[in-house]
């Protein structure tokens, strides 16, 4: 299907090979295709329901992350690339959440520990890498106030040095 190839040979057709009736059908088809994911409530690519940030959200949220932990239990944040081998927080958070849900937290922890071992910012006294979920009051967290409500460790592993 083309909208206009062979325009010079189109006879009485006014859009070069694509008649008016066909253009109407194409228009309805494209509009319909864009709307179908909404009707089916099924997000896909490239046709989407565009659900990002559309759901109602409270101020208490559970996050999946990975942290460096020293012998005294003090935690230090890692980086996006150490945790998820990507610079995109959506991908890093989504994949870690899926790994925890699917019972792959230990495997993911070892991958993170391997990357952390090569990270120059890893504190010298790090004894463990932990894959955790933490519940935070997000408004307090962003405001710099005490925000941690709950912490759960799903996997712990030793970074290879």
């Amino acid at each position: 299907m083309t909208f206009g190839w062979g325009a010079a040979a189109g006879g009485r057709r006014d859009a070069g090979g694509v008649g008016r009736r066909t253009r109407i059908l194409i228009t309805l088809g494209v509009a319909g295709a864009l709307v179908v994911p909404v009707l089916l409530d099924r997000d896909d690519f490239p046709l989407s329901t565009y659900p990002m940030y559309s759901r109602s959200r409270g101020d208490v949220v559970t996050f999946a992350t990975a942290q460096a932990v020293d012998a005294g239990g003090r935690t230090t944040a890692l980086t996006l690339s150490v945790i998820g081998d990507s610079d995109d927080p959506l991908i890093v958070a989504g994949e870690l959440r899926d790994a925890i849900r699917d019972g792959r937290a230990t495997q993911r922890c070892e991958e993170i520990a391997a990357r952390a071992a090569g990270w120059s910012g890893l504190p010298r006294d790090t004894s463990m890498i932990e894959v955790v979920t933490e519940r935070h009051d997000v408004v307090a967290q962003v405001s710099g106030d005490m925000s941690l409500l709950e912490r759960r460790v799903h996997a712990a592993c030793v970074p290879a040095r």
Partner: protein
Amino acid sequence: MTAHAEPPRERRRLPVVDALAPPERLAMLRILVGAFAVAYLLVRFPVFVQLGDRRTGFDGVGLAALLDRPVPGRVVDAVIVVSLFTGFGFVLGWRFRACGPAFALGMLALGSYRGSWGQLLHFENLLVIYLLILALSPASDSWSIDSRRRPRRADGSHDRSSDDHRSSESVAYGFPIALASLALVTTYVIAGVAKLRYGGLDWVLGDTLRNHVAYAAARLDLLGGSPSPLAGWLVRLDGIWPLLAAGTIVIELAAPVALLGGRIRTTWVVSAWLLHVGVLVFMLIGFPFPLLLVAFAPLYRVERLWTDRPIWLLRSTDQIAARAASATR
């Protein structure tokens, strides 16, 4: 020449279906969207290459839904290379009948594969829809290598759709542009509908938007990234959130007014652009396609970016053209 023929006069002109445009407008849209897509592919090259190393968590979407497991890394590399190569052909209008569809399909494949790991992103949807529309259109009839290689008339001019920007308008060129405009406004309306559908009135009247802003910053902070320094200041402001939320939904649902053209179109475009700027500034989430205004290009006479170029650029390009002409004599 049928490419420039008008629809019959007795018929009522329908929006989108009977839209008219000169070939240069469609060509400029091809150049803008194609150049953006190629630049995007180059900038995100490491991300796309990394996809080839992934083996776990595959859940195919889009074109990748045809797969039941990840493809070998060399297949991903090959698609990236072919996409880049055909992307340059797309921009230059070189062998467009092959390069156009190949590039659009390549980007569809890469976007599908990138979204097939449990996290659907929405940065590339509209871009790929534009590429697919353009790939199936006569977007290389002007301002392209293909158009320059077409047989010339006896007087030396091109057979049709020459680089003369006074070319007449045609539905052949207006229809794909209008179709892209339709896709643009529809996606914004769908995004607005999603907020009312999934978030309900609470999205507008409650603290949902504030919590989303705080959530984006907290997530980035806990993952070791650098959240927006303005997020903390913004979430402490009371009373503005219902206004911001209502404004967001009004902008998204009002997108079809952009099809009316004129000031109301530009008002909407500026509003939508500011919305994306706000998301970038406060949540550090950038949608480059609308932020760089390329997404809004189908709404404008974009050929004027070249035909009405500044006088200094006009002089220099004319000089280059004159030198090129004398060199080929």
